[in-house]
Amino acid sequence: MYKQHRSLVELLTAIGLIAAPFILPYLNFAPNTVNRVLVWGLFGIGFDILFGYTGLLSFGQSALYGTGGFVAAYLLTQAGFPHVVLALVIGMVAAAVVGYLVGLIALRRTGIYFAMITVAIAEVFYFVEFNPLSEWTGGENGLPGVPTPTIDLGFFKHHFTTGWSLYPFLAFIYFIGIVIALRIVRSPVGAILTAIRENPLRAAAVGHNIHGYKLTAFVIAAAYAGLAGGLLGVLQAFMPPEAFTFDTSGQLVMQTAIGGRGTLFGPLVGAAVWLYLQDFLQATLGLGAAWKLVLGLVFVLLVCFLRQGIIGGLKDLYRLIFHRGGAEMEAPEESVPAAAMSVGAAATPLPVHHRVAEPAAGPILKANGVSKRYGGLLANSDIDFTVEQGELRGIIGPNGAGKTTFFKMLTCEVEPTSGKIEFAGRDITGMNVTDVCQLGLTKSYQVNQLFTKLTVRENLQIGALADLRGKFRLDLFRNPARIPGLGDQIEHTLELVNLKHRADTPVAQLAYGEKRRLEIGLALATSPSLLLLDEPLAGMSPQERVETVKLLKSIRQGRTMIVIDHDMDALFELAERVTVLQEGRVLTEGTPDEIKGNPAVREAYLGGVLE
């Protein structure tokens, strides 16, 4: 939707903001309520990038809201700083800096730990504002007398005051805020943030520095919070200490969930509903303090039954009425005709990127004396393993032979207890998955690790971006379409794994075989020079197996591959050489024929009953 009309959303937002003062009074919105909705909406834009897009639920945004607000208010009321807008910007920067520091601590953990830590941090800020810093912040009195801004363009001078007079100023800032946020979520960084929400482990495995990106999202959210905090002071002509309370963070979370997370506009809608209902329940129905009870119940019901909030609900309704989803919802293709597969095979292989100087021939991967111990269990012991450039190697072994552990060490998911692994002449022992992927070594997983809410194309884009942009880059305003080679790389990969006709289908609607191909495609999109495939045929029907073997043959040109699989017929057909592991050691190595005829291998598999 965004793609066809790049600026449509912006245009509609502008129209809406201009029309609001003419329409909302008829809906019994007080001007001050509208202004507060804008401030909460702006606060929520950043929070939505953090929570809705990146999947990090923070209950501590009040810390940053308060920081930005008090820095700006202090400058304007105590330090005699005259420029309101500049003070707001300084407050925003201060909040961003604080956000960076807080993020360093809170992002050490994920999930519920992250939520708990953010709560605790916010509480610290609250107490610090009240006590140690009360000399500057006014403690429980806050900072009164925050001025409203004036613009002076020489020929035109205007002083914003309160109510509808202040509205254009807030609306303008909200507009800038939403335009910037839209750019961010459409940028490569935005795509990666969504990938982190969907599957952080895979996002890291295809070569993105997810910690850096999470911290980026946290700082962005902090900046929005800081600016909104400053505006709160301007709006009320007073910076209230309540900005720092847990209630502030909670209200933000609830408004975002009510409006719809991951939409940028959700917080604005949520705030409008919240503040309108608050006025309505309190004033019109005379419910007094019970308004919050009603809102709390509404919130709980929404979380239970309307997971994507009001905007999500409206989207579903729209689809339901106009059957827009019909085309997408068609039954997934169960199997792809063999003819279609040959298209994939005919596609030109992707150029393999050489990020490290590789010797033209000779081993691309060398493991020397690699062992892995888990507590008392020796999973791998003293494995020597060499793979030549351009080879297609198979690894087999009975259950418990240590194949998976060995693969994990090669991709640096686990560190060997002893031994050394070299990739393209470089020691990679002890590196992390992200860096190794950036060097050109990656893996497709035994159990699909996809970004399930994204489309096939968007999935491949995540892989390709890591290849083309490196592991961390802050191109927050870049249009991905302008990244040279990105489109080609995605198209090539789509062709290779034969998913061109499904490019814009969300992963959740793919058939299992298609997902398995995408799993391989995701690894391929990073244009690895060494590709590891962990049971690529797992869970496939015989028909799909035949097709996937064909596919694997077609993608191998110019690439080194190592395959683990239990389907021996398929593996022997594919691999040029096969390594057999048994009880954590290399039993033997040879051509498929040699392996088939090797008595030691038979013994390993059959336990010698035949003799």
Binding site: I396, P398, N399, G400, V447, N448, A511, Y512, K515, E535, A538, G539, S541, P542, H566, D567, M568, I595, K596, V601, R602, Y605, L606, G607, G608, V609, L610
Partner: protein, 232 residues
């Protein structure tokens, strides 16, 4: 009527189709082995019977009633026990507590003495915590934990895997004694020699399908099947 009769069982992990129309039957007092390469679906079959994996379609008639789709605890109460491949001993509980917990909801249970008689080693270690047991002791405990519930059928998933030969020998003896006492057993095991010594009948699974069914003795005489579905 057979004690256990499985028809048209289809199981999935997520949307990965693992079992295709698996059918099998187990008579009372019988020992049946499931063979096949890694990834053939043997463990998944046992898990589907026990309700750890819920089969998507198919019938599992156990002791006269269809248990497909029921929760594990209700299947356990109907008299089935699965000894998991990973053993799943409660590390924070000691040996005796592991056993008492297991027997808690059993309608009829073995007295502890009968367990101690079968596994004297466990009696010696009755107050040791699960985490402090050796691999062999853990496996004994895992089996004992199933037996204390006096199950109508025991499903053993690779009980000898990763154990020292001496321990395998002991466990084998225990299994043989059990079978001799009339315990119905379904066993999945890579160690063919051990399986063929125990089982009367075998099912061979290949890529989630039942590829062969027959008496164990026949398999020994017919190495072709072994090569085709188990070997290299």
């Amino acid at each position: 009527m057979s004690l256990l009769e499985v028809q048209g069982l289809n199981s999935y992990y997520g949307d990965s189709h693992i079992l295709f129309d698996v059918g099998m039957r187990v008579e009372k007092n019988e020992v049946v082995a499931l063979l096949g390469r890694n990834g053939a679906g043997k463990s998944t079959t046992l898990k589907s019977l026990m309700g750890v994996v819920t089969p998507r379609t198919g019938k599992v008639v156990f002791n006269g009633s269809n248990i497909a789709g029921r929760k594990s605890h209700s299947i356990a109460q109907a008299g089935m026990q699965l000894v998991h491949e990973e053993r799943r001993i409660f590390g924070s509980l000691n040996v005796e507590e592991n056993l008492v917990l297991a027997g808690h909801t059993a309608p009829k249970r073995w007295p502890l003495d009968r367990i101690w008689q079968m596994f004297p080693r466990l009696k010696e270690r009755r107050t040791s915590r699960g985490t402090d047991l050796s691999g062999g002791e853990q496996q004994m405990l895992a089996i004992a934990r199933a037996l204390i519930r006096d199950p109508k059928i025991v499903l053993l998933d690779e009980p000898f895997e990763g154990l020292a030969p001496v321990i395998v020998h002991d466990l084998m003896k225990a299994c043989r004694d059990l079978a001799a006492a009339g315990q119905t057993i379904v066993i999945v095991e890579q160690n063919l020699a051990a399986v063929l010594a125990l089982a009367q009948r075998v099912y061979v699974l290949n890529n989630g399908h039942v590829a062969h069914e027959g008496p164990a003795a026949e398999l020994k005489a017919n190495p072709d099947i072994l090569h085709r579905y188990l070997g290299v």
